[in-house]
Assembly symmetry: C2
Homo-oligomer: 440 residues x 2
């Protein structure tokens, strides 16, 4: 029944199994859309003995990745090794052998993308990585194709399902961070070492790639300001609700005159923004293009079948090129390679946004006037204050919440340093940034 | 500076002007992404004298569409004539001359799509129509490429901005339908004759195309059940809120065993569904793929620049093919043409969903028992009842609201016919369908 295109799969874990399952179950559907069959010719994994939920011919299993690399009948490989070094060298080897690559490895592309994309250009092969950002959500295709005529004014995304799951549970069930994290680990949603997810590193990988595609730039992930959710307390979630906000871990980028503002941190978003309504382990991306206006995309950012769906969409894309005898119609990083240069990021000190502060005020006269005096002297203007009676916490302090009008980060940091040194303040002030209208 | 690809634009109205503006303002950006310049060589319109907000060389303006059709240097034409007959014959003529076509004309494609797509196949040209469904939202690219490996389990969309604007204003400002419609007309959001928008016809055009792409089928729009928003009252919006729902005009399609259920009608959706939070003139599409799970896309469904953004994305797509010397890598209707056949739709009588009824009960003993008796005899099981005291309306009737568990449309229609004939019922019962979990 028509043409076959052979694939080599490296990594037969959850996602690899999902891809095999999807290619088996929807084989006829894919054939009707592509006009050819996608056939997995070899699967390499260190473990080829443990049974998977799909059945495959034992003869296609191998522990030797070279069987894929050396097979001239395999024009497309799927890299699902994960991590950095093995994945990197496999991808480079495959490209040197003129094989196209599909990968879901955001960490690798965020860190070694410049090298990998350069070799892909040299070898005239394609790299599909739709699954690496936002899982099943068509983020990369939307940026490279649908919004091709747009300057991207801003990006705001919930790019990590685990931290969104934790924040959602904390908000809906009023349970503390540690408790929900433990549950997520027991359910397998969170890793034993959850650092990547909860401290914003996974989000930074994805923002790095998103920035690169949006602006056609090389981005060093280390330059992006990053703050995770491990310090978010129930108390702040409750105050946020009272103020009309949900707290989400957002990746934010805003195009300024000649540079890009990019940052990752817990953010208060008004209830009526779509991002505030993204619950559980879902991801979402909100782009504002200069012509398109708001474009909001939502779906599963991870998981076996959603990720497999994105990987297969890349396989079909490359196969469609092959069937027409061409390769890579769309530039890897959205811009032709001769226009790719280094991104200019605005230092975090220079960003301006709205802020939420929770002060631990000792119950003494004059505390409010001292705090607001310091804020005023730094040009930080107060938008609202909440002080609930005089309930003293364990440390003998009363929580006082303030929100600000737009203020400069550096002024805020200096003001808080000064405030935290006051003898009427009993602990470190909590700071959470607020996005009201900038992302609309 | 590199290659040029010439374009012919027919129709220099709002959208046409937006396209010229976008190609002018973002010329360099598009060139950096495409690697070539998109240059409008001729613009045809019956009115070439009225100034537009963009300045163009007068020499490229013509009232004679043949100047574009006969120009061998123009490989891509943009059809913005609108309506049926002129647009249809222009597109057919252009394709016969081997020109690729980009259009935003959903009405034309919904009604004459089969003919147009067939000629495109014969002439080996491409038709870009991303702007025709959901304006700037990447609906078509997502269905044809991102979800290529998925069976589409369900589709739910807010596909008409005008009716969503009206329902939003009614809900938020508690103003009656006629009042908000008048305002929308004054503001230019609604046409003088608003029938297309408010009676669901525009939505039906878009659902027809969406169904065609999702399932690779020929669809007759006339076969789709269609009900507009002109009978939605403030009273029903208020009762809906009390029950936890917003009312939206939804296009719904659900894949059943061997056929598709497709329908357009005002629908109550739970507050926590993303579709319930789509406000104003925005559009949104919620697809559930068998592998991807939920994918939700949102943006401007119309308007000058959002539509221009989608049209230019199609121009770039075709230009990318041309630069590689190929044409149409992706089938027009998502499936290779040899697999396209006629859709099988489930008759409206046979669908099953939840219902909201508002009865005009005359204030007499036994009315509730008579109504619920008839519902019970038709296997319609009541989920909740609201009766607010005994406030009698102008017709001497008390509104009684009931919601049902899943029931069959035919049973419901027969029960309501019987109920409306009761001497204790003072007027026609209002029926609004509810979607709870089916679209999640």
């Amino acid at each position: 029944m028509g043409k076959k295109i052979f694939l080599g799969l490296v990594g037969f874990g959850t996602i690899g199994t999902g891809i095999v399952k999807l290619l088996q179950e929807n084989e006829e559907l894919i054939q009707k859309r592509l006009g050819a069959r996608l056939v997995i010719k070899k699967i390499a994994d260190i473990d080829i003995d443990t049974p998977r939920i799909v059945s495959v011919d034992r003869n296609i299993l191998t522990t030797d990745v070279n069987e894929i690399l050396e097979d001239p009948e395999i024009p497309i490989v799927i890299e699902l090794i994960g991590g950095y070094e093995h994945a990197r060298s496999f991808i480079l080897d495959a490209m040197r052998k003129k094989k196209h690559v599909v990968t879901a490895n955001k960490a690798l592309l965020a860190i070694h993308g410049n090298e990998i994309f350069t070799v892909a250009d040299e070898e005239e092969v394609n790299i599909g990585f739709e699954a690496s950002v936002g899982g099943t959500i068509p983020v990369i295709r939307t940026l490279k194709e649908s919004l091709v005529a747009n300057n991207i004014n801003s990006i705001a995304g919930i790019m990590n399902g685990t931290s969104n799951y934790i924040l959602t549970k904390m908000t809906e069930e009023k349970r503390p961070f540690e408790d929900v994290l433990k549950e997520a680990q027991d359910l397998g949603f969170a890793e034993a070492d959850p650092t990547y997810d909860i401290e914003g590193i996974d989000t930074a990988h994805k923002l790095t790639l998103t920035l690169s595609l949006s602006y056609g730039k090389r981005v060093n992930m280390q330059d992006i300001y990053m703050e995770g959710i491990s310090k978010i307390s129930l108390q702040d979630i409750e105050f946020a609700k009272e103020l009309g906000y949900n707290i989400k871990l957002l990746a934010i980028a805003i195009q300024r005159e000649n540079a890009i503002e990019a940052r990752i941190h817990p953010t208060m978003i008004p209830f009526d923004h779509l991002l505030a309504n993204v619950s559980g382990n879902f991801n979402a991306f909100h782009f504002i293009g200069d012509a398109s206006g708001s474009v909001f995309l939502y779906g599963q950012g991870a998981g076996m079948m959603p990720t497999a769906s994105a990987v297969v969409s890349d396989l079909v894309d490359i196969a469609r090129d092959m069937l027409k005898g061409v390769w890579r119609r769309v530039p890897l990083r959205s811009f032709k390679k001769e226009y790719i240069d280094d991104i200019k990021l605005i230092p975090m000190d220079d960003i301006a946004t709205n802020y939420y502060f929770r002060f631990s005020a000792l119950d003494r006269p004059g505390v409010l006037s001292k705090i607001s005096g310091i804020l005023g002297s730094r040009n930080i203007s107060i938008a609202s204050v909440i002080q609930k009676g005089r309930q003293v916490d364990g440390a003998g302090a009363v929580p006082v919440v303030m929100t600000t009008h737009e203020a400069r980060e550096k002024d805020v940091q200096m003001a808080l340093k000064e405030i935290d040194e006051l003898d009427v303040v009993g602990g470190k002030t909590i700071l959470i940034r607020i996005e009201d209208d900038r992302l609309k």
